[in-house]
Symmetry: C2
Subunit: 88 residues, 2 copies
DNA sequence: ACTCACCACAGAGTATTCTCTACAAATTCA
DNA sequence: TGAATTTGTAGAGAATACTCTGTGGTGAGT
């Protein structure tokens, strides 16, 4: 599990915990909405300045956002083809 | 205390702890020597990829490098004017 | 004085992050 | 089904991280 993924997972979790949309978080952290989206999809490696800004808004410690999730969530690696069971 | 400073302090401490020079650390982490120097002087905001690479080489947790030093270190702020008016 | 190892610092170039605009899929609500 | 909200994604440009090269300063050992 790479550091971007750890960060992405923690970021999304903390964001939801705070009850914020990507847009609202972006606004408060003075960042772009699409960039938040990218971070949660591991597109970029955020700088520690960005990390710090997000942590402040989310009310967590910066180091917390890089902490590898304990349960380790091996299953979360790939959403396989979830399209099949649509049955609609 | 800004996040770059926290990182700089922790990086330098971990590096010395590991008994490495900036050059040796740079080599092992596949980074440039002058860049390591810059990071320890808060010139740049490292990306989390770099942070992760350095943490691996130094044998510490990535989150550890962002952990605010306990205690304080308020005194270490500035090397006063050590120039001594050299005058050409 | 000389060498050696280590570090600060600057300038220019390359690579990557981050912003902005725009469109579309997914989700929620009525 | 339809409207509002949220998120994914793409492309182009501005900002900044990161590399490479070179200069100089400091302290230890000879």
């Amino acid at each position: 599990m790479d550091i971007r993924e750890i960060f992405a997972i923690n970021l999304r979790a903390a964001r939801k915990e705070a009850g914020l949309s990507q847009e609202e978080l972006a606004y408060r952290a003075d960042l772009d909405r699409t960039y938040i989206s990218s971070l949660e999809r591991c597109v970029y490696a955020a700088s520690i300045d960005v990390l710090d800004g997000l942590a402040k808004v989310l009310g967590v410690d910066p180091a917390e956002l890089l902490r590898r999730p304990e349960g380790k969530a091996r299953a979360a690696s790939g959403p396989k083809s979830r399209k099949g069971s649509k049955a609609g």
